[in-house]
């Protein structure tokens, strides 16, 4: 186990746990950004540079900003009425630790995890693009359709605010 992996793995894991347990939601979002940056660094260690940069662009750049905007728009950072040590946490931690134990036990029992390191790889971006345009063109088109419809759907959901009853005092933007 190399030292860089230990440092980035610790960084990622600790920030992920912090992102799920902190009370202030803005702190949670910042910890999520740290986790995603740590994952991008791990992708760099795994010789997947293009994926690391995509991760930085899409997750760190776009999704985290979206999360922060949603927190600001819903004023979630002001409501912190979430008592700790309740039953939901016990259930969640129980189920999650069982899942973790099953996963860890299954791949420590298998020989997959001990596969020989095939040496440094490189991720050819040209081959990736060629593959997207030839063998994987149908998934690419479907993803484009999905993204377009998701964007339209998100705009429709967030913009329209029809009053439910005529006496509703809320303004209609």
């Amino acid at each position: 186990m190399s030292l860089t992996f230990v440092i980035t793995a610790l960084w990622t894991a600790v920030l992920a746990i912090a992102a799920m347990t902190l009370r202030n939601l803005i702190h949670c979002a910042l910890c999520l950004v740290g986790t995603l940056i740590g994952l991008a660094v791990i992708y760099l260690q795994l010789d997947a540079q293009f994926i690391a940069f995509s991760q930085m662009l899409v997750y760190v750049g776009a999704i985290s900003v979206l999360v922060v905007f949603a927190m600001l728009l819903t004023k979630s950072s002001e409501t912190q009425a979430e008592p700790r040590g309740n039953k939901a946490w016990a259930h969640g931690l129980g189920i999650a630790s069982m899942v973790f134990l099953v996963l860890a036990a299954s791949f420590s029992a298998s020989t997959v995890g001990k596969a020989a390191d095939p040496g440094p790889r490189e991720l050819p971006v040209a081959a990736l693009g060629q593959s997207l345009m030839t063998t994987h063109v149908l998934p690419l088109e479907l993803i484009a359709l999905l993204l377009t419809s998701a964007m339209i759907g998100a705009a429709v959901l967030a913009l329209h605010d029809r009053p439910k009853n005529p006496g509703d005092p809320r303004p209609n933007p």
């Binding site: 992920a16 293009f50 899409v58 001990k114 999905l146 998701a150």
Partner: protein, 103 residues
């Protein structure tokens, strides 16, 4: 050199943390963050398996991650729009206070 099992262990840890958060947190945005963590754990698995695969020409892992990134972006956009809509209707994002199906 780091073995594949270490990456798998980290990914399993991230997945479990995300699952625990998604199950236990009451705020809808936190549930969404937990789901994002689980998606990222799956992506890490794809990249790790690609890196330790014996066939150097195989690109299925990174391609899968690219598609998964696009789907995560769409999911986050729709999920957060739903949460904003929910907040307008119910004036809260705490999930246990949202009980009416028809608002």
């Amino acid at each position: 050199m780091t073995a594949l099992s270490h990456y798998l262990l980290l990914s399993a840890l991230l997945f479990s943390v995300g699952l625990a958060g998604a199950l236990a947190r009451r705020n809808a945005i936190m549930v969404l963050i937990g789901i994002e963590l689980m998606l990222n754990a799956a992506n890490l698995n794809f990249i790790a398996f690609w890196r330790f695969h014996q066939n150097p020409a195989s690109l299925d892992g990174p391609l899968m991650v690219l598609f998964s990134l696009a789907i995560a972006a769409a999911e986050a956009a729709v999920g957060l729009a739903l949460i904003i809509h929910l907040h307008r209707r119910f004036k809260t994002t705490q999930l246990e206070q949202v009980r009416n199906l028809r608002g």
